[in-house]
C-alpha cells in the first residue's frame, strides 16, 4: 500500500536546492541519534482515506515537517525551500500522484535551549491518489 511520507521524502530530495541544503538528511518519523545539521523529519499528523462504493479513491493527509539547524538564518531559508516546493504543487510525487497540496502552517521557528538548535515546523496538507 502506497503511503505519503516516503514518497514525500523522495520528492523533496529530487529538488536540487533541497538536496544541496540537506544532502540526504530528510527522514521519516525518526532521525539517527547522532546528526549533522541541517536535517528534517517528516511525520504524519492526520491521514484520511476516502472511500467510494468501489473502494479507496483518494487520500487527504496532513503532514508535519520539522527542519532542524544550529543556525537561524539557514533554518529559515531551508524551511522556506520546502515550503516553496510543496505549496500549491500538484503532480507526481514519488510513486503517487499529488492532486493538491497547500501549506496549513507556514514555517515557524523556535529555539531549543537544551539542544542548542532551532526547529522550524511546517504543516502541509496533501491530497493524493495512487
Amino acid at each position: 500500500m502506497a503511503e505519503i511520507t516516503s514518497n514525500l521524502r523522495t520528492f523533496l530530495l529530487a529538488d536540487s536546492g533541497i538536496s544541496t541544503a540537506f544532502g540526504t538528511r530528510i527522514y521519516v518519523i525518526k532521525a539517527p541519534d547522532t546528526q549533522t545539521y541541517p536535517f528534517a523529519i517528516i511525520r504524519k499528523v492526520a491521514p484520511t482515506a476516502n472511500y467510494m462504493y468501489d473502494g479507496r479513491w483518494g487520500n487527504d493527509d496532513l503532514v508535519q515537517i520539522d527542519v532542524y539547524d544550529d543556525d537561524l538564518s539557514s533554518c529559515v531559508t531551508n524551511a522556506q525551500l520546502i515550503e516553496a516546493e510543496l505549496d500549491g504543487y500538484a503532480g507526481t510525487m514519488g510513486s503517487i500522484t499529488n492532486t493538491a497540496s497547500w501549506i496549513t502552517q507556514a514555517p515557524t521557528e523556535e529555539w531549543s535551549l537544551d539542544a542548542r538548535h532551532f526547529r522550524s515546523r511546517i504543516d502541509v496538507n496533501i491530497k493524493w491518489t495512487v
Binding site: 532521525a31 484520511t48 496532513l62 523556535e110 539542544a115
Partner: protein
C-alpha cells in the same frame, strides 16, 4: 414547499426557492441561535479531541475545553483545545528532542472526516433551528 399525492402512486414534490429564500431572510436568527448552531460543530471537535488525546493521567483529556471568542447574530467563533502546559509537546513534539514522538489530536480533530462530521452537525443544527423558526 408542498408534498402531496400518493393516490396515483406518485408523490408530488414542489419547492419554491423564492419562498424558501424569503423564509430564510425572515428567520431572524439571534446571537443565541447562531451560537447554538455553531456549538454543534464545537461539540463534535471537542469530542474527537477527547477521544484521540493520549491518556495517561487523563489531565489533558479533562482539560479539553472551548472558549467562545465572538458571539453575534452573524458570527460565532469558538476556540477548542487542551489547557495543560505540556499539551503542545504531545501535539507537535519537542524541539530539543527531534525523535520525541508526536501524538497529534488537535489538528486531526478538524481534518478529514472529523471536519466533515463537524460541518454536518452544524448543517443539521441550522436546519433544526430554521425549521423551528418557520413553525412559529
Amino acid at each position: 414547499m408542498r408534498i402531496e399525492g400518493g393516490a396515483d402512486m406518485k408523490v408530488k414534490f414542489e419547492m419554491n426557492y423564492r419562498e424558501i429564500h424569503r423564509k430564510l431572510r425572515n428567520a431572524k436568527l439571534t446571537a443565541q441561535d447562531v451560537s447554538e448552531i455553531g456549538y454543534a460543530g464545537s461539540a463534535v471537535i471537542k469530542m474527537n479531541q477527547k477521544i484521540d488525546v493520549p491518556k495517561d493521567t487523563h489531565a489533558t483529556e479533562i482539560s479539553v475545553s472551548d472558549h467562545i471568542v465572538q458571539e453575534t447574530d452573524i458570527w460565532f467563533v469558538d476556540q477548542i483545545g487542551p489547557e495543560t502546559t505540556y499539551a503542545p509537546y504531545i501535539e507537535f513534539g519537542v524541539a530539543s528532542r527531534p525523535n520525541y514522538p508526536i501524538q497529534p489530536f488537535v489538528r486531526p480533530s478538524a481534518h478529514g472526516r472529523n471536519k466533515k462530521d463537524a460541518i454536518d452537525a452544524i448543517k443539521a443544527a441550522f436546519g433544526m433551528k430554521v425549521i423551528g423558526k418557520w413553525q412559529k
